[in-house]
């Protein structure tokens, strides 16, 4: 039985270390998903927590300035430039922006809110709205027509 005790002890040590790494890793890299409206309501907390904000790129708002890229994000895809729920985002990360990042694309910005109210992003992900699949609603209609 001694073998099993030794074995069990080793297993416990390994799992303990991994659990410790897991917990540390979570607190280190956790990011809260927020909408633009929610970020605005968060107040000072938005400046300390890592956030991931979801929105759409206002057409014509992307400005490149050296390694820095800024753009304006809005919340409702249907309203485009008329949407008043907006947030300015500045990106200074090292990775290039994805090719799908352009006017009207759906974008996700990771970072923190700066003191001046602009969002300081360290990572941008984008999907190009038109290119991917249509909403499920349209799908079922198409199916019904086919059956």
């Amino acid at each position: 039985m001694k073998t099993y005790a030794k074995f069990g002890a080793l297993v416990a040590v390994i799992l303990g270390v991994l659990a410790w790494l897991t917990l540390g890793g979570i607190s280190e890299s956790k990011t809260y998903f927020k909408t633009i409206t929610e970020v605005k309501q968060m107040g000072d907390k938005a400046q300390t927590q890592r956030l991931r904000v979801d929105g759409y790129v206002v057409p014509g708002s992307i400005v490149r300035n050296g390694a820095e890229v800024s753009f304006i994000m809005h919340q409702n895809p249907a309203m485009r430039a008329a949407d008043t729920v907006r947030m300015k985002v500045v990106y200074r990360g090292i990775d290039p922006l994805p090719d799908t990042f352009k006017d009207d694309a759906q974008a996700m910005a990771d970072g923190k809110l700066g003191a001046d109210g602009t969002f300081q992003a360290s990572k941008i992900q984008a999907k190009c709205a038109s290119k991917y699949e249509a909403k499920p609603q349209m799908k079922t209609d198409a199916n019904r027509a086919g059956m």
């Binding site: 073998t3 099993y4 030794k6 074995f7 080793l10 297993v11 390994i14 799992l15 270390v17 991994l18 790494l21 897991t22 540390g24 890793g25 979570i26 280190e28 890299s29 956790k30 990011t31 809260y32 998903f33 991931r52 400005v63 490149r64 300035n65 050296g66 390694a67 090292i94 990775d95 290039p96 922006l97 994805p98 090719d99 799908t100 352009k102 996700m108 990771d110 992900q125 999907k127 190009c128 038109s130 290119k131 991917y132 699949e133 249509a134 909403k135 499920p136 799908k139 079922t140 209609d141 198409a142 199916n143 019904r144 027509a145 086919g146 059956m147």
Partner: protein, 671 residues
């Protein structure tokens, strides 16, 4: 045409259901005709799904834009090969591919085993067809690939189609999805055999022997799929990464991890009759993770850069997984007494124990990845707040896990079964340890000590390389001394005598090479510069001079191209030409990166854009040390896996090292 396609799928669904019922009732009522009719139904399902797939491909290639699927994923101007690949470019088509592959696998399984395993086969057929039925429900009733656009019904020309995303129009993307699918789908077969063996209360390893080749081939497909994805991301996406711990990537990694654990732990069962329950759990886990992976990529439950649609099929997957897992769990618990271990762990320092730790660590890594991937879903359910974790979390856990595995890769194969003496450990590991320590000391002197993980990783890579080399060296020397042939023919002879063992070493070597490549990432360098033609900048020891900026246009896209002259010291080493394209039909820009690939490091240039005044180009330049070794590692791994599949020249009996008494007591099956 679309009616024939939809009808084929519907008929296939009916026959798949029949195959399940026929096989099971035939088996229970001992009616061989019914069993055979169930098997024939499997062939018919394959034929019907081939017809449906053929029709879809035909519509894609001829551009029948009345079909919603064709309109959404094909485009008249696309090259034919991409029209073909549009088969799996979207949701419905890829589900059809899944179903067709499973039908193909099932037909092969049923055909090759038509005279064997008469006891188990009806159940195997039933499990395979139940899984297939699930996918056929999806494409027959929920997401039909043959839906017709309403606009197209009155012969209104629907336009040219939206085409395949230009980012995906790249050679590795042609084969990446089917490779992954071949892997995903393939694990259904060993799972079906495992279940067949459980249901028929077979105490032995018949299911493992029969499915060994199958599992290895499937594992190779999956490895290939994952690596192709990495190669694509590296060469196309413009940030030079190959892995971002994105949910969809994780989805492909999870079953790969459990399958790797399974490939190792079956050896314990074959050799020692141990870990029988565990193997059942692993193969079932792999199968359900494959289904889960399909669910993750196909349902939009977690947001991902791979950006598949939100879709209504999520709940079906949840039902299938819940029922499947519950049934499997019940089966394993109920048949526990047939899965008793025939031997006991005798020492912590033994081959058995190294296998167990290997499994423990792999499964822990699988859990960590799964946990991280589902964290947004879990946190939302528990706290109401959606919280995600990303790359730093995964790296933090998986780097130490990877290093631990590397250590076991070196130690495991050389350690003796049952127990190892201190003497034998010294003999086996003295020189490999010295080699690793010398390398680490040398690297530390050159400044690598700033990256402790990288230092340890290189040391372990050296350690494993040394142990594997010593294995080949000892074996070949013995053969060479006996037969008088050279060392290299002896090494080949050695490998041929026991392909499983030495092929396995080659696979391990491939993993070592990949680790070298991954470790290189600790030393990546990058810089972003805005440069006018004629200007230059520095990155590491490279001097980069922009000599020219051109633009032009063709039917498909407009383009801008940079010519960048790279030099080191006073020596010019070549011109790189990163470009940007803007595709007209899809209105999408793409970056065509320029890479100078070398074994020691890659120089990687991305033309990120043009400054607002249109005078200067924004360039992102990277140096990626050792990254080529990832791809080299893959080839070594693939060759090693193929070697494992060659039958060994010397027929190995795999005699069990039995411990008298203990084995007998535990092997006895009490009915």
């Amino acid at each position: 045409m679309e009616n024939i396609g939809a009808l084929s799928i519907l008929l296939a669904f009916c026959l798949a259901v029949y195959a399940v019922i026929g096989s099971v009732i035939g088996k229970l009522k001992k009616n061989p005709f019914l069993v055979v009719s169930g098997e024939r139904a499997v062939y018919s399902v394959w034929i019907l799904l081939s017809v449906a797939s053929g029709l879809l491909i035909y519509s894609l290639i001829t551009g029948d834009f009345r079909l919603a699927y064709v309109a959404a994923h094909s485009d008249q101007t696309m090259p034919a090969i991409y029209k073909f690949t549009a088969w799996w470019g979207g949701q419905e088509g890829s589900l059809l591919l899944w179903a067709w592959l499973l039908a193909t696998y099932s037909a092969v399984v049923v055909f090759t085993n038509r005279k064997k395993f008469r006891d188990m086969m009806p159940w195997v057929t039933a499990v395979l067809m139940t899984t297939l039925t699930f996918f056929l429900i999806l494409i027959a009733f929920v997401l039909s690939p043959f839906g017709v656009l309403e606009a197209g019904r009155g012969n209104i020309v629907e336009g040219m189609g939206r085409g395949l995303n230009p980012l995906l129009q790249y050679w590795t993307m042609v084969i990446h999805p089917p490779m992954l699918y071949l892997g995903y789908v393939g694990f259904t077969v060993p799972f079906a055999f495992a279940m067949g063996s459980l249901i028929t209360r077979q105490p032995g390893e018949a299911w493992i022997h029969t499915t060994r080749r199958w599992t290895i081939v499937t594992w190779l497909f999956q490895s290939t799929g994952i690596l192709l994805g990495q190669g694509w991301a590296y060469a196309v996406l413009g940030w030079g990464g190959y892995w971002a711990w994105d949910p969809v990537e994780n989805a492909s990694l999870l079953p790969w991890i459990t399958a790797t654990a399974f490939l190792h732990s079956v050896m314990m069962q074959e050799k020692k009759g141990m870990m029988k329950v565990w193997n059942m759990v692993l193969i079932s886990g792999t199968f359900f993770l494959c289904i889960f992976g399909t669910f993750l990529t196909r349902s939009g439950v977690v947001s991902s850069v791979h950006a598949f649609a939100q879709s209504p099929i999520g709940k079906y997957f949840v039902y299938f997984l819940a029922i499947g897992i519950a049934a499997t769990l019940y089966m394993i618990l109920d048949r526990m007494k047939y899965l008793k271990s025939e031997a006991r762990l005798e020492s912590v320092v033994s081959r058995e124990s190294s296998f167990m730790f290997n499994n423990l660590i792999l499964v822990a890594s699988c859990f960590a990845v799964l946990w991280g991937t589902l964290f947004p879903v879990i946190s939302e359910a528990v706290t109401g707040e959606k919280i995600s974790v990303d790359a730093p979390f995964f790296n933090r856990i998986n780097i130490p896990i990877g290093l631990g595995l590397m250590l076991l890769t070196g130690v495991g194969p050389l350690i003796a079964w049952r127990r190892s003496s201190v003497e034998s450990l010294k003999r086996a590991f003295f020189w490999p340890s010295i080699a690793a320590l010398v390398l680490m000391a040398a690297l530390a002197v050159f400044g690598v000590y700033e990256h402790p993980y990288a230092l340890v990783s290189f040391g372990l890579c050296m350690f494993v390389t040394a142990t594997i080399s010593s294995e080949f060296w000892k074996g070949s020397k013995a053969i060479s001394a006996k037969s008088g042939v050279g060392l290299i023919p002896s090494a080949i002879e050695l490998t041929h005598r026991n392909t499983r063992r030495y092929g396995g070493y080659l696979v391990h070597m491939g993993i070592v090479f990949m680790f070298i490549g991954y470790t290189g990432a600790a030393f990546n360098q990058d810089v972003t510069k805005e440069v006018a033609p004629g200007g230059s900048f520095q990155l590491g020891h490279y001097n980069l001079k922009v000599t020219n900026m051109q633009q032009g246009e063709n039917d498909n896209y407009t383009w801008q191209k940079l010519s960048v002259e790279a030099s080191r010291g006073s020596q010019t080493i070549g011109t790189l030409e990163p470009a940007k394209r803007f595709y007209k039909s899809s209105q999408q820009p793409t970056s065509e990166v320029a890479i100078r690939r070398r074994l020691n490091e890659d120089l990687y240039l991305n033309f990120a854009g043009v400054s607002n005044d249109n005078q200067r180009a924004v360039i992102q330049a990277y140096v990626f040390p050792l990254v080529s070794w990832v791809w080299i590692g893959y080839w070594v791994l693939a060759i090693g896996t193929l070697v494992c599949l060659i039958p060994s020249k010397v027929r190995l009996s795999y005699a069990r090292t039995q411990v008298l008494g203990v084995a007998e007591k535990h092997a006895k099956v009490t009915k």
